[in-house]
């Protein structure tokens, strides 16, 4: 096991997460300790409801653990202020969800460059890089199209380009192909792995698809008992 290594990009220490439920509480994660190194492509599998998304949300600073500590990209995520968290999410993270979560009032290119603009980058520079990334995901011709004019697979590719625009160290993908048909799933997966490898990103990928899970460099299985390396 390498969870004590100092160069780890992500470190989870004795994480417990419980939600209040009725008059008691629902414990979703217990005693989770985990370490992920820079450049690893980690696939996470597990039954529905076992807490995979919850885990990603804790690492992404969208939620806080009930106990334990989350360190990621050099930040003590579980202890950061709301303001510092937004900065962490902007600079160090790229999210891709099952649902594309593109902004409906903005076209493909504008959606891609949004994190860069939020981060205060110059618009012209951001647009140049955004156009390049759209080319890389095969949507160079669709820059001015709005989300409503794109197919499900195309939207996920735009979301992927958006996740990469700020050159984050960590990409988190929560069932990115969960809503896609076979053909589109393969296309999005291919691009996801190709780009994360090429840009040397660390990837946390939640998936139900064993084939896809096998494509990573490391595989984790989440159960009620904890995490297992496969």
């Amino acid at each position: 096991m390498n969870d004590m290594e100092g160069s780890a990009l992500i470190q989870l220490r004795d994480i417990r997460k419980a939600y209040p439920s009725g008059n008691g509480e629902l414990e979703v994660l217990r005693d989770i300790s985990l370490s992920v190194n820079e450049g690893e492509l980690v696939a996470i599998t597990g039954e529905s409801g076992c807490g995979k998304s919850t885990l990603l949300n804790l690492i992404g600073g969208l939620d806080r653990p009930s106990e334990g500590e989350v360190l990621s990209c050099g930040f003590p995520v579980s202890r950061l202020s709301e303001k510092a968290l937004t900065d962490y999410r902007n600079k160090s993270l790229g999210f891709v969800f099952q649902f594309h979560f593109l902004l409906k009032d903005f076209n493909a290119l504008e959606n891609v460059v949004m994190p860069a603009l939020i981060g205060g980058e110059k618009k012209s520079r951001a647009l140049d890089r955004g156009a390049e990334l759209l080319d890389r995901v095969g949507l160079g011709e669709r820059k001015d199209h709005f989300p409503s004019q794109l197919s499900g697979g195309e939207r996920q590719r735009v979301a992927l380009a958006r996740a990469l625009i700020n050159d984050p160290r960590l990409i988190m993908a929560d069932e990115p192909t969960g809503n896609l048909d076979e053909k589109n799933s393969r296309l999005v997966e291919e691009i996801l792995f190709e780009l994360t490898r090429e840009f040397n990103k660390t990837l946390l990928l939640v998936t139900h698809d064993p084939v896809l899970a096998g494509k990573g460099s490391r595989r984790l299985h989440l159960t009620q008992g904890g995490v297992q390396e496969l």
Binding site: S53, N57, R89, L93, F95, F99, P115, L117, I118
Partner: protein
Amino acid sequence: MKFRSAAAIAFRSFRRNRRRGRFNSRPLLGALAGVALSLIPLVVVINISEGMIEGIVDRFLETDSYHLQIFSYTDKSEGDFRREKEAVLSLEGVNHAWLERQGAGMAYSEEGKTGVAVRAVERTIREEDGGFRRYIQVKEGAFDLSDDRSVVLGEAIAAKLQVHPGDQIKLLTGKVFPGGRYIPRVTPLTVTGIVSSGYQEMDRLWVFITYEAGDRILSPETSRTVLGIKAQDPYGDLRDLINRIGAVSEGPNWRAYTWEALNRSDLNSYQTTRSMLMVIMAMLVLVAVINVSSSLIMLIVENRQSIGILKCLGTSPAGIRRIYRLTGLFVGIGGALIGCGTGVLISRYVNGLVAFVNGTGRLVQRLLAPLTGGAAREFSLMNAAHYLQEIPVDIQWDRVVAVGLGAALLSWITSAVPAARAGRIRPLDVIRKF
């Protein structure tokens, strides 16, 4: 988040979405229209009330109250008044001084009769006094009081009596003897002119005769003589002039009053009416501005998902708040520009608009006449008797701009509440929904 990005995101809410073929937020445009509409009456009132009050006051000063009036508390002869007049005329800052005898009477012709205010004035008042000439317009004949048997009538009186220059009328005045015995006196007079002061209330009352005729037919008990002064600057400080008049007056019991003192209750009531109008209209604007804030809440509910996404992508709560405060500000600015612009345009052409509405109304009235059997009264948007015949417009740019800025600023301030709500939206709640 930088201002420019926040502004760009805020502004997107106003853009027409090509695919959806509608504006991104109708409530927002509704709120904008509300601000604009509420500003229009306020701006119009601002632009015409000043001119209206000024116009009314100026007319009063020049035709009715003079700038200063000198009364005597004891019986004074015409000679005393003439000497006082000469003394006052020698003062610097005095343009004219006119003797006037004011009384009441009843004018009648074969066609009708009406109660009148008799103004016995010096023959040359209209010739020499530019202010009087400006506002007393001759409608028929001439303002000719060269003969003691001449009379000049207000337009509404002439209409009522159905007389024209050259016709005769009779003026009934009276004398009260000790013990209360009243002796009527009838004086035949020849109409030489018909005039209008532009203020119908006055045109219904005034008949002008010569000072000498007035002296003869108006009894001291029911009339009074005043010395009306026209100063160089009626709107300046008249107290100094009053002091100097006191110094040159011969004997005691002369008292001078300024037009402000004489018209105080009228002036106050104009100002109060205007203030009340403004308060009511400012409240309309306030309601419209609060509506901006509630439409923002609708927009935020509609945009919950986008807000969650923006937060996921690294927008801080402050950044989200900034976006929605800017959105509110844009609504305010847009509403202010449209509202103030339209208000100024309407003010600018208000006379034409009133004429148009009156004309249309009368046309409709005439077309409907066979059905209604003819209306009792001619259609009129405003009761002309209480207003000037022409509304004086004076565009008060500074106030219009202040009101517009105020509305925009208020929109920005009241946006704080919905913006704070948007800032508190948790990204997780949005993301878990899918």
